[in-house]
Protein backbone atom coordinates (compact mmCIF):
# COMPACT_ATOMS: atom_id res chain seq x y z
CA UNK A 1 0.00 0.00 0.00
CA UNK A 2 1.57 3.30 -1.02
CA UNK A 3 0.64 6.68 -2.37
CA UNK A 4 0.91 7.26 -6.10
CA UNK A 5 1.66 10.74 -7.34
CA UNK A 6 0.60 12.06 -10.73
CA UNK A 7 2.52 15.09 -12.00
CA UNK A 8 1.92 17.78 -14.62
CA UNK A 9 5.71 18.21 -14.97
CA UNK A 10 8.88 16.23 -15.56
CA UNK A 11 10.50 14.64 -12.54
CA UNK A 12 13.64 12.61 -11.89
CA UNK A 13 11.46 9.99 -10.30
CA UNK A 14 10.14 7.14 -12.41
CA UNK A 15 6.78 8.39 -13.56
CA UNK A 16 3.38 6.84 -13.71
CA UNK A 17 2.21 6.45 -17.28
CA UNK A 18 0.82 9.48 -18.99
CA UNK A 19 -2.77 9.93 -17.99
CA UNK A 20 -5.36 12.46 -19.08
CA UNK A 21 -6.61 15.29 -16.89
CA UNK A 22 -9.98 13.60 -16.42
CA UNK A 23 -8.36 10.28 -15.47
CA UNK A 24 -6.34 12.06 -12.78
CA UNK A 25 -9.46 13.75 -11.42
CA UNK A 26 -11.43 10.55 -11.53
CA UNK A 27 -8.68 8.51 -9.84
CA UNK A 28 -8.12 10.99 -7.03
CA UNK A 29 -11.85 10.97 -6.34
CA UNK A 30 -11.95 7.19 -5.85
CA UNK A 31 -12.86 7.84 -2.22
CA UNK A 32 -14.16 5.07 -0.04
CA UNK A 33 -17.31 3.58 -1.61
CA UNK A 34 -18.09 6.75 -3.55
CA UNK A 35 -17.01 5.83 -7.05
CA UNK A 36 -16.00 2.73 -8.97
CA UNK A 37 -12.36 1.70 -9.17
CA UNK A 38 -10.59 3.08 -12.23
CA UNK A 39 -7.82 1.84 -14.51
CA UNK A 40 -5.62 4.52 -15.98
CA UNK A 41 -2.79 4.96 -18.45
CA UNK A 42 -1.20 2.71 -21.05
CA UNK A 43 -0.92 -0.25 -18.69
CA UNK A 44 -4.40 0.15 -17.24
CA UNK A 45 -3.19 0.20 -13.68
CA UNK A 46 -6.10 -0.20 -11.32
CA UNK A 47 -6.94 2.25 -8.54
CA UNK A 48 -9.29 1.23 -5.78
CA UNK A 49 -9.54 3.21 -2.62
CA UNK A 50 -7.61 1.52 0.14
CA UNK A 51 -9.07 3.51 3.02
CA UNK A 52 -6.76 5.60 5.08
CA UNK A 53 -3.36 6.85 4.06
CA UNK A 54 -2.09 9.99 2.45
CA UNK A 55 -5.04 12.33 2.83
CA UNK A 56 -2.89 15.29 3.70
CA UNK A 57 -0.16 15.38 1.05
CA UNK A 58 1.91 18.16 2.63
CA UNK A 59 4.91 15.87 3.24
CA UNK A 60 4.75 14.56 -0.33
CA UNK A 61 4.79 18.15 -1.60
CA UNK A 62 7.86 18.91 0.51
CA UNK A 63 9.59 15.82 -0.90
CA UNK A 64 8.82 17.06 -4.41
CA UNK A 65 10.39 20.42 -3.58
CA UNK A 66 13.52 18.61 -2.33
CA UNK A 67 13.63 16.61 -5.59
CA UNK A 68 13.24 19.71 -7.76
CA UNK A 69 15.48 22.17 -5.93
CA UNK A 70 17.90 19.82 -4.21
CA UNK A 71 19.47 20.66 -0.87
CA UNK A 72 18.62 24.36 -1.35
CA UNK A 73 14.90 23.63 -1.20
CA UNK A 74 14.65 24.24 2.52
CA UNK A 75 15.84 27.86 2.16
CA UNK A 76 14.15 28.46 -1.17
CA UNK A 77 10.64 27.72 0.03
CA UNK A 78 9.21 31.11 0.93
CA UNK A 79 5.58 30.24 1.36
CA UNK A 80 3.69 27.01 1.81
CA UNK A 81 -0.10 26.99 2.09
CA UNK A 82 -2.06 23.97 3.21
CA UNK A 83 -5.86 24.02 3.03
CA UNK A 84 -8.00 21.46 4.84
CA UNK A 85 -11.57 20.40 4.13
CA UNK A 86 -12.94 20.89 7.65
CA UNK A 87 -12.09 19.14 10.89
CA UNK A 88 -13.33 15.86 12.33
CA UNK A 89 -15.85 14.49 9.90
CA UNK A 90 -16.87 11.63 12.18
CA UNK A 91 -20.40 11.46 10.96
CA UNK A 92 -19.76 12.61 7.42
CA UNK A 93 -21.40 9.62 5.76
CA UNK A 94 -24.40 9.28 8.03
CA UNK A 95 -24.89 5.72 6.83
CA UNK A 96 -24.59 4.07 10.20
CA UNK A 97 -22.21 1.58 8.65
CA UNK A 98 -19.62 1.12 11.35
CA UNK A 99 -16.63 0.38 9.12
CA UNK A 100 -17.14 3.38 6.89
CA UNK A 101 -17.60 5.63 9.91
CA UNK A 102 -14.38 4.43 11.50
CA UNK A 103 -12.54 4.88 8.21
CA UNK A 104 -13.63 8.49 8.13
CA UNK A 105 -12.57 9.09 11.71
CA UNK A 106 -9.12 7.73 10.97
CA UNK A 107 -8.87 9.79 7.77
CA UNK A 108 -9.75 12.97 9.68
CA UNK A 109 -7.37 12.07 12.48
CA UNK A 110 -4.55 11.18 10.10
CA UNK A 111 -5.04 14.44 8.19
CA UNK A 112 -4.75 16.60 11.32
CA UNK A 113 -1.88 14.56 12.77
CA UNK A 114 0.06 15.03 9.56
CA UNK A 115 -0.64 18.78 9.70
CA UNK A 116 0.56 19.00 13.30
CA UNK A 117 3.65 16.85 12.66
CA UNK A 118 4.61 19.00 9.68
CA UNK A 119 4.06 22.25 11.60
CA UNK A 120 6.20 20.96 14.46
CA UNK A 121 9.05 19.20 12.66
CA UNK A 122 9.44 20.74 9.21
CA UNK A 123 7.82 24.19 9.11
CA UNK A 124 10.26 25.79 11.61
CA UNK A 125 13.29 24.94 9.43
CA UNK A 126 11.80 26.32 6.20
CA UNK A 127 12.64 29.64 4.60
CA UNK A 128 15.72 31.75 4.08
CA UNK A 129 17.62 32.02 7.33
CA UNK A 130 18.29 34.33 9.15
CA UNK A 131 14.84 35.75 8.38
CA UNK A 132 12.19 34.77 10.90
CA UNK A 133 9.29 35.13 8.53
CA UNK A 134 6.66 32.48 8.79
CA UNK A 135 6.60 30.17 5.79
CA UNK A 136 4.01 27.49 6.47
CA UNK A 137 0.31 28.39 6.65
CA UNK A 138 -2.43 25.91 7.41
CA UNK A 139 -6.08 26.87 6.96
CA UNK A 140 -8.85 24.53 7.99
CA UNK A 141 -12.41 25.34 9.04
CA UNK A 142 -12.43 24.12 12.62
CA UNK A 143 -16.14 24.26 13.38
CA UNK A 144 -19.38 23.71 11.52
CA UNK A 145 -18.37 21.20 8.84
CA UNK A 146 -18.27 18.14 11.10
CA UNK A 147 -21.39 16.63 9.64
CA UNK A 148 -21.04 17.78 6.06
CA UNK A 149 -19.88 14.87 3.95
CA UNK A 150 -18.17 15.02 0.59
CA UNK A 151 -21.45 14.29 -1.20
CA UNK A 152 -23.55 16.94 0.59
CA UNK A 153 -23.70 19.45 -2.22
CA UNK A 154 -27.07 20.66 -0.96
CA UNK A 155 -25.35 21.97 2.19
CA UNK A 156 -23.45 24.62 0.26
CA UNK A 157 -24.99 27.53 2.18
CA UNK A 158 -23.94 25.89 5.46
CA UNK A 159 -20.42 25.27 4.12
CA UNK A 160 -20.12 28.90 3.01
CA UNK A 161 -21.45 30.20 6.36
CA UNK A 162 -19.07 28.06 8.47
CA UNK A 163 -16.16 29.07 6.26
CA UNK A 164 -16.96 32.78 6.62
CA UNK A 165 -17.13 32.48 10.41
CA UNK A 166 -13.72 30.78 10.37
CA UNK A 167 -12.18 33.35 8.02
CA UNK A 168 -13.37 36.24 10.19
CA UNK A 169 -11.69 34.95 13.32
CA UNK A 170 -9.00 37.52 14.28
CA UNK A 171 -6.17 34.93 14.36
CA UNK A 172 -7.13 33.63 10.96
CA UNK A 173 -7.46 37.13 9.51
CA UNK A 174 -3.94 38.04 10.59
CA UNK A 175 -2.64 34.71 9.26
CA UNK A 176 -4.25 35.42 5.91
CA UNK A 177 -2.67 38.83 5.57
CA UNK A 178 0.75 37.46 6.61
CA UNK A 179 0.32 34.67 4.08
CA UNK A 180 -0.69 37.10 1.32
CA UNK A 181 2.40 39.17 2.09
CA UNK A 182 4.64 36.08 1.92
CA UNK A 183 3.14 35.13 -1.44
CA UNK A 184 3.36 38.65 -2.82
CA UNK A 185 7.01 39.07 -1.85
CA UNK A 186 8.19 36.30 -4.14
CA UNK A 187 6.38 37.68 -7.18
CA UNK A 188 8.45 40.85 -7.28
Amino acid sequence: MHTTLLRSYESQKVQEDDCTIWEAGRATSAASSFFDPIKIGQFQKSFVDGGTGCNNPVERVYEEALDIWGPDARQRIQCMVSIGTGQSMERAFGTGVKEIASTIISIATETEQTAIRFATLVAPILGPSPSNNKVYYRFNVVKGLEEVGLEKYKDKARIAAATKVYLNHPDVLSNISACAQAMGSQCT
Binding site: M1, H2, L6, Y9, D18, I21, E23, F35, D36, G50
Partner: protein, 95 residues
Amino acid sequence: MLGRLKMDTEDCITAYLQISRDVFQPKKKRFDILGRASDALKVRGRFDSEALKKGIQKIVVQAGEDVDSKLKAEDEPRCRVLVPLPPFRRFSLTS
Protein backbone atom coordinates in the same frame (compact mmCIF):
# COMPACT_ATOMS: atom_id res chain seq x y z
CA MET B 1 -8.37 23.42 -11.98
CA LEU B 2 -6.19 26.24 -10.66
CA GLY B 3 -2.84 24.82 -11.65
CA ARG B 4 -3.29 22.75 -14.79
CA LEU B 5 -6.33 24.44 -16.33
CA LYS B 6 -5.30 27.89 -15.03
CA MET B 7 -8.85 28.69 -13.95
CA ASP B 8 -9.46 31.53 -11.51
CA THR B 9 -11.06 30.89 -8.13
CA GLU B 10 -14.51 32.19 -9.16
CA ASP B 11 -14.64 29.79 -12.09
CA CYS B 12 -13.45 26.95 -9.85
CA ILE B 13 -16.28 27.57 -7.37
CA THR B 14 -18.84 27.68 -10.18
CA ALA B 15 -17.45 24.44 -11.61
CA TYR B 16 -17.54 22.74 -8.19
CA LEU B 17 -21.17 23.72 -7.61
CA GLN B 18 -22.10 22.38 -11.04
CA ILE B 19 -20.17 19.09 -10.87
CA SER B 20 -21.22 18.24 -7.32
CA ARG B 21 -24.87 18.66 -8.26
CA ASP B 22 -24.44 16.47 -11.35
CA VAL B 23 -22.39 13.76 -9.70
CA PHE B 24 -23.72 13.21 -6.20
CA GLN B 25 -27.05 11.72 -7.16
CA PRO B 26 -27.40 8.30 -5.53
CA LYS B 27 -27.49 5.49 -8.09
CA LYS B 28 -29.59 3.19 -5.93
CA LYS B 29 -32.66 4.17 -3.97
CA ARG B 30 -32.45 3.90 -0.20
CA PHE B 31 -34.92 1.01 -0.07
CA ASP B 32 -32.98 -0.99 -2.66
CA ILE B 33 -31.09 -2.90 0.01
CA LEU B 34 -30.08 -5.76 -2.28
CA GLY B 35 -28.72 -3.41 -4.91
CA ARG B 36 -26.75 -1.45 -2.36
CA ALA B 37 -25.39 -4.62 -0.76
CA SER B 38 -24.23 -5.94 -4.12
CA ASP B 39 -22.53 -2.58 -4.78
CA ALA B 40 -20.68 -2.93 -1.50
CA LEU B 41 -19.63 -6.48 -2.30
CA LYS B 42 -18.37 -5.65 -5.77
CA VAL B 43 -16.70 -2.42 -4.68
CA ARG B 44 -18.88 -0.40 -6.96
CA GLY B 45 -19.29 3.20 -6.00
CA ARG B 46 -22.44 4.66 -4.51
CA PHE B 47 -22.35 7.46 -7.05
CA ASP B 48 -22.20 7.59 -10.82
CA SER B 49 -18.57 7.35 -11.94
CA GLU B 50 -19.59 8.07 -15.53
CA ALA B 51 -21.20 11.36 -14.42
CA LEU B 52 -17.98 12.30 -12.65
CA LYS B 53 -15.94 11.52 -15.77
CA LYS B 54 -18.31 13.58 -17.96
CA GLY B 55 -18.32 16.40 -15.41
CA ILE B 56 -14.54 16.64 -15.32
CA GLN B 57 -14.33 16.44 -19.12
CA LYS B 58 -16.80 19.32 -19.40
CA ILE B 59 -14.64 21.48 -17.13
CA VAL B 60 -11.53 20.54 -19.13
CA VAL B 61 -13.19 21.56 -22.42
CA GLN B 62 -14.63 24.77 -20.95
CA ALA B 63 -11.09 25.70 -19.92
CA GLY B 64 -10.07 25.48 -23.58
CA GLU B 65 -8.29 22.13 -23.45
CA ASP B 66 -8.89 19.03 -25.51
CA VAL B 67 -11.23 16.53 -23.83
CA ASP B 68 -8.39 14.00 -23.57
CA SER B 69 -5.59 16.44 -22.78
CA LYS B 70 -2.80 14.88 -20.77
CA LEU B 71 -2.14 15.89 -17.20
CA LYS B 72 1.46 16.45 -18.19
CA ALA B 73 1.67 19.90 -19.75
CA GLU B 74 3.48 20.20 -23.08
CA ASP B 75 5.94 22.83 -21.95
CA GLU B 76 7.49 22.95 -18.51
CA PRO B 77 4.61 24.61 -16.64
CA ARG B 78 4.94 27.71 -14.46
CA CYS B 79 2.67 26.05 -11.96
CA ARG B 80 3.44 22.42 -11.20
CA VAL B 81 0.53 20.20 -10.23
CA LEU B 82 0.87 17.12 -8.07
CA VAL B 83 -2.12 14.79 -7.74
CA PRO B 84 -1.85 12.30 -4.88
CA LEU B 85 -3.97 9.22 -5.38
CA PRO B 86 -5.55 7.38 -2.48
CA PRO B 87 -3.48 4.42 -1.34
CA PHE B 88 -4.51 1.64 -3.65
CA ARG B 89 -4.67 -2.08 -3.33
CA ARG B 90 -4.64 -4.69 -6.03
CA PHE B 91 -8.14 -5.83 -6.67
CA SER B 92 -9.33 -8.78 -8.67
CA LEU B 93 -13.09 -8.94 -8.12
CA THR B 94 -13.93 -6.31 -10.68
CA SER B 95 -11.42 -7.15 -13.39
